[in-house]
Amino acid sequence: MASRVVMPKLSDTMEEGTILRWIKQEGDKVETGQTLAEVETDKATVEMEAYTNGVLRKVIAQAGATIKVGAIIAVIGAPDEDISALIEPVAPTREAPPPPPAASPRPAGVAPTRPVTLPATALRAAPPAAARDAGPGRSLRASPLALRMAAEAGIDLASLQGTGPQGRVIKRDIEAALAQASGAEPALPGGQPAVEVREIELSSMRRTIARRLVQSKAPVPHFYLTVDVAMDRLWEAYRALRDENYPISLNDVIIKAAASALKRHPEMNASFAGDHVKQYGRVHIGVAVALEDGLITPVIRDADSKSIDEIAAEARTLADRARNRRLQPHEYTGATFSISNLGMMGIEEFSAIINPPEAGILAVGAVREAPVVENGQVRVGRRMKLTLSVDHRVADGAQGARFLATLRRMLENPLLVG
């Protein structure tokens, strides 16, 4: 019996996926477990497998299309079966317009799919803007000239409202957009814009970051607490370990210390859930890893009960996998608190945006030499700034301060870490 293949939900945060490539073509025989297509989610590129035997009768969502979770993308069935009843038009979408069709409970006859992480490949070419659609049910129309002009000027056609028939984007629309752009920037005598603008198509990851962090910064009432930590002793210990070729980083120690401090201050290991606060019994630390086109926070689970050695090894593996885009969904979801360290980039102090629904994120600055006044004497010491961003709906200033004080005490007395 024929069944629908729908865009699978491959991570908690996934709302849509882009079909990079169909591995099976219409008419190909398909067996359970065989790869149907490659899908770019908000976090990674995964292979989508078939969970049913038959023939790939109809590809509904073509390569390049971005499809909402739960929407039909193909039909698998017997070679001669009538599948017309199963085929429904698919409305690819760029942004995530409301409401998601059939996102939850799956309709009967849906062929489930399971995600498999794909080895890093070069299959990440973004589909051309024209191939995508601009909104629900509205296909993007443009004259060939407008397409070319937009490509040359780096204008995203989807951002324009065409004035031609059926909303076709035409030359004058591009010219209007260019005029508007050059109106905002002083033009040079040659008619060239003063600033050369290069527009870069958003990757799925960048779109996710943009969407989620707006979800954080705007509705989550952040406040910030900063402490200056004396790092002399930890630095000494760290250097000593390094000299012994111990493969740990300062960040591993901070992860361990923060996890221990969170264990003692569970009010910071929590999240806001509308009418109640969730306090977590286990401490999972998300560690921000910068990628070329975004960032991702792989999670070190139960960091409070792991040794620094274990944390160091795990953090290193996860970071490598993140950079190669080989993280599986369970490896980057479910953190209860996050740490972002820009110290290695020379940043002394910064405040990070909370990764919802977590209640806090710790921004770690560089360890630096600084004048320290002790007993009326100035000496050279090592200092590090920590800034804690807190969701004020979950915790208050004093609670954040107490957590920070515990963390500071641990870092200043390395023997207390653990």
Binding site: S143, P144, L145, A146, L147, R148, T163, G164, P165, I170, K171, R172
Partner: protein, 326 residues
């Protein structure tokens, strides 16, 4: 430069070529004693005698066949169709013999023949006598098809056609015979296969030939008053087609309207539109639009005849459509 009629420009071309080459002769219905149904051969019988200006019975297939045969043995016949509507009777000679003889004889026989006469609608000549059949002939490999729009082009192109070693189908606009234009006194030719820009402009390309050039120019004039600069291009030769200037113009203007007196279906304009799409697709801001004759046998009633033909107003409308003004 003298201002003469299209008719007289054609007569000049015939006379000059008959003076230049004794192998050139004119044959057709009423070309001699009656001086031509449209007076294109006025004075030629008197000047060149009845061996070179030959009146024929009403036998289109017959005298077209005589033309092919005489061309095969080295003469250069000019066959006048009283109107192109009658050429249907000569189609077998034109298509099966004239067009294919060079190929089928392995290059042994050239057919330096011109078949000429008036085409298109005139004034209330009704369905059987108001047809633009360029598309029929341009369809056939082996034929060259020419359709001049001005006296200057008519003379220069006819001289080139007579000197050409291939069969040339030469469409004269039936209502153009009395139109006047500047024609130089001396000898000149206009090469086959070369288009001409009749009006320069930057906003839209209008392609038209024969009588439709004047329609296009009237539309361009009206549009100029609205600040729209039309470029009007006359391919002059419909086969072989001078594609490059047409494409270059559309690449400049990004829009194209083709005006054709004949029917839309399988018309010359379809080929032109294909060429534009093939070579200038990335430069198009709107689909190529065609203004053509109505898809009906030509009505006899004057008002309906007008409605069935391209008009400056319809061209203006089409230009505004490709400019997305209306």
């Amino acid at each position: 430069m003298p201002l003469i009629t299209y008719r007289d420009a054609l007569t000049q071309a015939l006379r000059e070529e008959m003076q230049r080459d004794p192998n050139v002769f004119l044959m057709g219905e009423e070309v001699g004693v009656y001086q031509g149904a449209y007076k294109v051969s006025r004075g030629l019988l008197q000047e060149f005698g009845e061996r070179r200006v030959i009146d024929t019975p009403i036998t289109e297939e017959g005298f077209a066949g005589v033309g092919v045969g005489s061309a095969m043995v080295g003469l250069r016949p000019i066959i006048e169709m009283m109107t192109w509507n009658f050429s249907m009777l000569a189609m077998d000679q034109i298509i099966n013999s004239a067009a294919k003889m060079l190929y089928m004889s392995g290059g042994q026989f050239k057919i330096p023949m011109v078949v000429r006469g008036p085409g298109g609608a005139a004034h209330q000549l009704a369905a059987q006598h108001s047809q633009s059949l360029e598309g029929w002939f341009a369809h056939v490999p082996g034929l060259k098809v020419v359709a001049p729009s001005t006296p200057y082009d008519a003379k220069g192109l006819l001289k080139s056609a007579i000197r050409d070693d291939d069969p040339v189908i030469f469409f004269e606009g039936e209502t153009l015979y009395g139109s006047k234009g500047e024609v130089p006194e001396g000898e000149y030719t206009v090469p086959l296969g070369v288009a001409d820009v009749k009006r320069a402009g930057t906003d839209v390309t209008i392609i038209a030939w024969s009588k439709m050039v004047s329609i296009a120019l009237k539309a361009a004039e009206a549009l100029a008053a609205e600040g729209i600069a039309c470029e009007v291009i006359d391919p002059r030769t419909l086969r072989p087609l001078d594609e490059e200037p047409l494409v270059a113009s559309v690449q400049k203007t990004n829009r194209c309207v083709i005006v054709e007196e004949g029917w839309e279906y399988s018309g010359i304009g379809a080929q032109l539109a294909y060429v534009i799409h093939r070579d200038a697709f990335g430069d198009l801001d709107a689909p190529v639009t065609r203004v053509t004759g109505a898809d009906v046998p030509m009505p006899y009633a004057k008002n309906l005849e007008h409605m069935a033909m391209p008009s400056p107003a319809r061209v203006v409308q089409a230009v505004k459509e490709v400019l997305y003004i209306e």
